[in-house]
Amino acid sequence: MNTTAKDTKSLDNPGTPLITGNQSFHSVTEKISGIVEAKVSPYWYLAITISSLLALVFFGSIGYLVWEGIGIWGVNVPVGWGFAIINFVFWVGIGHAGTLISAILFLMRQRWRTSINRFAEAMTLFAITCALIFPGIHVGRIWAAYWMFPVPNQMGMWPNFRSPLLWDVFAVSTYFTASLLFWYTGLIPDFATLRDRAKTKWKRLIMGILALGWRGGNRQWKHYELAYLILAGISTPLVLSVHSVVSTDFAVSLVPGWHTTIFPPYFVAGAIFSGFAMVMTLGILARKIFGLEDFITVNHLDKMSKIMLVTGMMVGYAYMMEFFIAWYSGNEYELFTFLNRAFGPYAWAYWTMITCNVLVPQLFWFKKVRNSIGALFVISILINIGMWFERFVIVVTSLSRDFLPANWDYYSPTFWDIATFVGSFGLFLTLFLLFVRFVPIISMAEVKGVLPQADPHHTAKEQAKG
């Protein structure tokens, strides 16, 4: 990475340094390793207590679900899918930002990504972990869910390769695997740093194993960077494919409101939108709690805001386009579904979605907003609420009123739906808290690569002259 550096400053925003505070290699190591090595703060204990209790609610709800059946949820006929699928799509969406930041921005030489890619990738993994649980538990016979995998069996049965649910299984598990490898590969030099700084035998041993014998030699760096580049190349199409495939769960069906060709790009845009919002939320918390203002600067947040502004408008465009096509197609079922979304019994969900996803991000046009940490924090949370409701609107409103009016019914979640949803945040946060405790949350090796010291030159001005 340092070998490719051309400029000590951000290329796309000259004049604004990527890392502030006049950091040296040593100070970066100290700062970031320090978070992992320092004495554990009581706040962390408090946080993990709360989050693991929530996680317990999650697993408790799942236990009750396995015991009693899907009936504890609010799903019915016609609304066969409820919170579980909404949450699945929501978490998969969240999981988009990490790999996008790591892989696509890496390939595009967006060097500002280095400050946020590590925890964004971690967030991706944890979000996908949460996401993967839902399709597993939402089936009626959880103990037979593995039949969705093409496992050779005595029944001589393959899964049905025409079913989008099966595509999901492949898409999401591939994405998870690729993201995990990518994340781990990026971690190797940092694990080596931690190993070298370890003061206890056990820590040295564990970090030593995790560092896979990293010595930081030239040849190692050469191979490492090539591997990283290849992994980035592999991950890039996955970022686009995974949510496209998830969208086919809906697009391939014939339910009005689901059966639309716009879904793949619309879902990908929405996923990036929500993923960045979640990175923003977590990033703001991390920089505040661990004093990382020098690493995750306002400049970073500003850039993320711009991406959210763009993807938010893409999503808004998709909303409008759906309406237009519903009218233009002349299909009465399609048109009814969209009018019903906006003015039917679930209008409250629809307008929540529009407000949070289309109207609120318009504030990002203002630099003042983009540079206000408080505003960004609130907006990022609103966007995530909006994106959850987007999935709610898609899943529930379409099913609740489809072709034959006699079948129409209202869906309302039960206590267990909500407990499972809230509990999944518990799992997510618990994993994230463990991550910030044991793994460097910022990629030391890569941040060092964007420091001025990594690219010893005269000043840019002089260079330009020369």
Partner: protein, 993 residues
Amino acid sequence: MKKKQGKDYWRSLEQIADTPQFREFLHREFPEHAWELDNSISRRNFISIMSASLALAGLTGCRRPVDKIVPYVAPPEELVPGQPFHYATSMPFGVGGYGLVVETHEGRPTKIEGNRLHPSTRGASSAITQASLLGLYDPDRSHKPLYRGVEKEWAEFVAFWHDLYPRYLQKKGEGLAIIAESTSSPTFFRLYEEFRKNFPEADFVVYEAVSDEKIYKGIKLATGQTLQPLYHFDRAKVILSLDADFLLTESGNIAATRKFAQSRRIQSENDSMNRLYVVEGVFSLTGAMADHRLRLPSSQVVHFAIALAGELQTLGLSLNISDLPDSIAADIDKKWLNVLARDLLASAPNSLLIAGRRQPPEVHALVAAINHAIGATGITVDYARPDGLIYPDSDAFASLSRKIESGSVTSVIILGGNPVYNSCADIDVKTVLGKVEHSVHLSPYIDETSQLTEWHLPQSHFLESWGDVRSLDGTLGIIQPMIEPLYDSHSSLEMMSLLVTGRDRRGYDIVRYYWQDILKGTDYEKEWRKILHDGLKESSAYPLMIPQIDHYALTESLKNLPQQEGAITAENLEIVFTVSPSLFDGRFANNGWLQELPDSMTKLCWDNAALLSFNTADALRVRNGDMVQINFRGHRLELPVWVMPGQADNTVSVSLGYGREKAGHVGTGVGFNSYRIRHSSSPDFGIGAIIQKTGGTYLLATTQDHQSMEGRPVVREASLEEYRREPDFAEKMVEHPPLVSIYTEHKYDEGYQWGMTIDLNICTGCNACTIACQSENNIPIVGKEQVHRGREMHWIRNDRYFIGDTDNPEVVHQPVACQHCENAPCEQVCPVAATSHDREGLNVMTYNRCIGTRYCSNNCPYKVRRFNFFNYTGKMAETLKMAQNPDVTVRSRGVMEKCTFCVQRISRARITAKKENRTIRDGEVITACQQGCPADAIVFGNINDPESRVSQIKKQNRNYALLAELNTQPRNTYLAKVRNPHPELENYKPLGS
């Protein structure tokens, strides 16, 4: 997809009446607690009502032990394990009965079907007859005689009676009273005659909460004789129903539907069909089938009948009724009346008037007179002189209760029935029972009455006892048991025999003994065997006769019509007590199938409600689910409101049969007991009810939340004239691009290709198919709370839509089961291929492959798939397990299920055909719904055979596939509905509507 509809379909009930109240109502249409956090599912609650009392599962030890595993040492002749036997029997009901055939598996009756030979069913059935099977296995049935709550042996009761018997014999029965149910059993009648001989001083009273008493009285008024009217709807071209729901809740409904469908069925635009006029206050199933329906409070129907008589006389019909009283009902639409009168005369004698059992005798008398005058008697209506019937008599019942209260009765014996529950509010049977020394109650359940009597004796179910019954036309049918009594129970014949003769005889011996008389002069054994085989005695119907009309008596009675109690207003409502199509008078309250069966008109299940019209609800400021108090003649009842379009304004109707205090685990506490406000002065309807809002609300579970078709071509309908103008109107209602597939689809052109048609023109929406299917396919019930959540399990459901204005809408019914799409959307999306197509075109479910993603249900445009959200069948009582069809898998939790086109019946036919080295004949496979359908609206068969009945029907121009534009290629198609309005009344809105 441009639509072309002749009718003005509602966007929805509320939108059409776009007032703020209705808008609010619109919100209420969706259950109020969108984000209700808890869920009252409380498993415990739900289990307690599930599958007819799971709680009793532990009590099964009380059942007589059955050794099942041991194979037969000497198997019965012809028995092949796994092959069912079919036996003919009859189900007694009121003064009639239904001829049935029962399928038994290894000695367990599992399915009830109509007896093709029997005129009361002709192979069809009804929801109630089908569901009576569940009553046999009800674990809540009483198991042992009880003496003051303590279990005793039957022998102890016999001893008890042997003690009393000589004393009453000596006193010629003085102080002894029997309260029986009405019956048409000849054997019972002989016993009754002996009883009269032995105990001339005793009281023998017959009480029925719901009966045809007024019909018999009315006919007696007109003819001087007690006669049974027999209607031939098949011969009628114009039918007028005066508050008669003859297609569902009146007596003889199965035969009536069958015959009505015959003259309604059309094959092409050149055929003619009957025309049905209905005048009624409560929207009935018959009203839904009407070509013209006049909304009129039930108490005004008599005025309508008089006005009609007057109109007919004006048109030249000689009724010989001098001085017809002036009709006081001013708001009877003159044009409607005139057209009707002319229509009746024009098609006379093939016209028919029929009045409902709620109507007073004068209406029935007048109807008989008009039928007579237009020459219909002998053509569309016959009269038979019944022989040996035990008729209900509510006056005698009331005077008996007074007599008991005076203390001159020492023993009361109640044979069946439940008078403590279902007597009118002003007759306090509870106190009356306390006045006697001895009281005995024979009843299948320990119910409200049994609780108060000294002795309770378990009554046998008709499927486990011997007996006989005459159907309405007099055909003698036999009741033969399918199984040994499950409990220590006895039939009312056995009980009556004991009471009369003092001898404890078996039902078989009693019936055999009295049938020696009936079969006198024949080879008894041979004839008896034939009767057992056929289920009936050939040509044993009553002789028909044409009675003379006593015009004088009729004129007199019409002059002396009681004065109306004030004008009907929102403050002085008319209250109508309706019979529940499911629970009847409450006797089926513990039958889970019937409790969960949505009412054909309201789509409510597990409850009854006060039905009000839109305008009345508006005037009273009440909405669906609001609790109100009805105050009628000093009696009060609180119950929720349900707004029913088409109900007459300023009337409230409540269904009888609900609110049982002691029915069993299923029925106790379900709904509201309207007997509490039923007054013997006006047991069917009366004016003077006051409704007050109490402020509370109540959750009513409905299986259909939305009432309008939203302008979609779901049920396609035209008038006969429109149909003649445009014979393929049904197909033309939807325009769609050519239906092509990008794949090469399987051809399905070899072997059997199963398909079905449902004729919406003759389907009445009676729900017989739903229960037949439930019985055949082991479909569980799920309870009110689950129905409210939208989880009912019926494989074939009956969609009901309103059309037209909210005051006087038309109603259409559409049974929807799996459409067996050739291009099935469900199959493609299942990740584990648990639902797939077989080569005969069936969309099949592999239950043990299903993992329950519910994706198939989401993708089914008809939403006919049903999911086991809980283990609905897991804790089934032992006895209920015996009711299951062994040919059909019982589904467990977490799997999807749906209509299979009765694949087990197809398999059975295939095996038989294979053994006989032939192909399956047309009509050999009859699905359960088809078999149950009294209208014969459902036809099933091989569509690959151009000669099969189903192929022929699919060629008709009314044939259309539901949602064909989705290219699902359904195997199930519908025949569009045709109404036959009188040209002068088409689109005419009569006064008062």
